[in-house]
Amino acid sequence: MIGRGAERVLGLLAAFGLLIGLYIGFVYAPPDAVQGEVQRIMYLHVPLILVSYLAFFVVFVMSILYLLRRQERHDAIAHSSAEIGVLFTALAIAAGSIWGRPTWGTWWTWDARLTTTTILLLIFIGYLMLRTLVDDPSRGATFSAVLGIFGFLDIPIIHMSVVWWRTLHQPPSVLRPGPSTVAPDMQVALYTNLAAFVVLYGYFLVKRLRLEEARCELNRLRMEGVE
């Protein structure tokens, strides 16, 4: 695993990146032509949601690796990544909801992407709940791995169904957040923030894995104690 020093560097890098992101997002980038200042929430909302998809993709890959190779390391990464993914998804939905209030005039709308993201959040909250309920660690790891794979494979189907549900029977009344063509300055701000949040995700993951290491150590000691 990663050493303490590298972990600290990663943390500093994340903090520094987020500060730069804030500066570019609030000062450098111009206000949006249509939405005005409120569009600045995009630099928070979009990176959060993209990183949470990354986190769930990591869960998917690590779950497959765990089922094939049976190494605790893969399960630890999957579990940690799922937890961070849930945090980021929840924050992204909250930020999106706050963004929706001044732009759409409502806190919540059954927009396709919003609904898909919420269903994803529900699936992975279930994943974390299942974890806490299974006493045997290796069984818990196997169960969650299977659920992690299903949860990720379900995303495209959920998205398809929800998009059709919103479009087949209703005129597209829901405004898409953000303009269709993003101005270059805005792109810079968006990508800077995205990079910062990816680093932050890495930092959280490393920190979360420390907890898993301690848990493995505890289980090992308990096994020895039993013998």
């Binding site: 005005g36 929430i41 928070l44 959060l48 945090l87 959280f204 979360r208 907890l211 000691l221």
Partner: protein
């Protein structure tokens, strides 16, 4: 409509969420480490 309360609200909420998560991680790691240390001490005592 003044957009700044919404912008600040969104950013502060996200920041609060991140900080809470870090604090919870630290607490859980500490608790786990304490348990490990206690078990190690216990097994040492049992061995001696």
């Amino acid at each position: 409509m003044n957009p700044w309360p919404y912008i600040l609200g969104a950013y502060l909420l996200a920041a609060a969420g991140m900080v809470c998560y870090l604090v919870s991680l630290r607490r859980r790691t500490k608790a786990m480490a304490a348990q490990v240390a206690a078990l190690q001490r216990h097994s040492k005592e049992a061995a001696s």
